[in-house]
Symmetry: C3
Subunit: 112 residues, 3 copies
Amino acid sequence: MKKIEAIIKPFKLDEVKEALHEVGLQGITVLEAKGFGRQKGHTELYRGAEYVVDFLPKVKIEVICEDSVADRAIEAITNAARTGRIGDGKIFVSSIDDVIRIRTGEKGEAAI
Amino acid sequence: MKKIEAIIKPFKLDEVKEALHEVGLQGITVLEAKGFGRQKGHTELYRGAEYVVDFLPKVKIEVICEDSVADRAIEAITNAARTGRIGDGKIFVSSIDDVIRIRTGEKGEAAI
Amino acid sequence: MKKIEAIIKPFKLDEVKEALHEVGLQGITVLEAKGFGRQKGHTELYRGAEYVVDFLPKVKIEVICEDSVADRAIEAITNAARTGRIGDGKIFVSSIDDVIRIRTGEKGEAAI
Ligand SMILES: Nc1ncnc2c1ncn2[C@@H]1O[C@H](COP(=O)(O)OP(=O)(O)OP(=O)(O)O)[C@@H](O)[C@H]1O
Ligand SMILES: Nc1ncnc2c1ncn2[C@@H]1O[C@H](COP(=O)(O)OP(=O)(O)OP(=O)(O)O)[C@@H](O)[C@H]1O
Ligand SMILES: Nc1ncnc2c1ncn2[C@@H]1O[C@H](COP(=O)(O)OP(=O)(O)OP(=O)(O)O)[C@@H](O)[C@H]1O
Ligand SMILES: [Mg+2]
Ligand SMILES: [Mg+2]
Ligand SMILES: [Mg+2]
């Protein structure tokens, strides 16, 4: 099973959520974050205004899915989150050993 | 070493914390999150009211522990967080390569 | 590629950021967190006042980097975040399978 973590622009959350839903992904966790990438000292557009890129508000999305769905999920996030401008975000993919659904005690892929 | 991430109902945080303490776990990190699981478009109870399940407030717990303690930690979280209703939460288990205690520079299991 | 997660004292964020920049690391994600380590029931100093250590405000930093840079990043964080007092924080290191830069579609180390 894979964990897909995406740091995106906050206003893209709804589009990313819909895109994940369209490829059949149902579970998603969202956290507020701030961050910066490669443009430290340069400017980035945020809500129409230019900011010196230090920490900018970002949203962190976490999606756990089966291996076979990961590529589709990554593509869905990439396409939905992209504006073409710097700061569009990053996706980090890692491996998960186990999943447990607390209500039922189900484990593994059945619990996703 | 294992990383146990649990997304739970916020009002269950204290019970989960106590349950972890009872199995000997001392360290815990907590983040505010929002999310949804499989019931998109259906309703979930939150503080006695019914919500259409889009994003609901959740708490994310992160516990790093030795491999030998992981099963007990997962069981403790599962039992403490369960209400029997949908939305009780998920646990994700992954592997950690190293831990460092910043104050002392200790590494590995000694640093947990 | 490695994921370095560090839970530090909030007032140390700027120093840690500068230390990472000095070893050539450009990307960083920051989340607000709360937590406790081994001193449950004891006191910890926070902004000059003593608190019984239950949940204290912490900052969580996430840095994804190439394997060859990880040790330098860990050392930079450790040195910048250390005050010598309890509660200085923890660093957790894990492995990342892939990285994607959303704007360009680049993958792997080129996307970091
Ligand atoms: N190496 C990294 N480690 C941790 N977080 C990162 C890293 N790189 C980027 N991020 C996070 O992703 C967010 C978006 O990064 P961003 O899209 O600016 O990446 P970038 O590499 O600078 O690409 P671009 O040139 O398109 O701006 C940052 O604000 C930060 O939160
Ligand atoms: N696949 C997933 N990826 C990421 N986060 C998830 C996933 N599934 C659930 N979550 C997180 O866990 C929270 C609780 O999920 P929930 O307990 O509703 O799971 P579920 O599979 O729908 O089980 P149930 O049928 O008991 O409701 C969600 O709000 C979301 O934050
Ligand atoms: N095992 C753990 N799992 C998850 N988070 C942890 C763990 N240990 C510590 N943390 C997080 O790191 C923060 C700082 O921990 P802390 O520095 O107090 O660790 P410690 O082991 O008690 O070391 P010290 O003796 O120097 O205080 C905690 O508030 C918590 O958020
Ligand atoms: Mg950038
Ligand atoms: Mg659900
Ligand atoms: Mg401590």
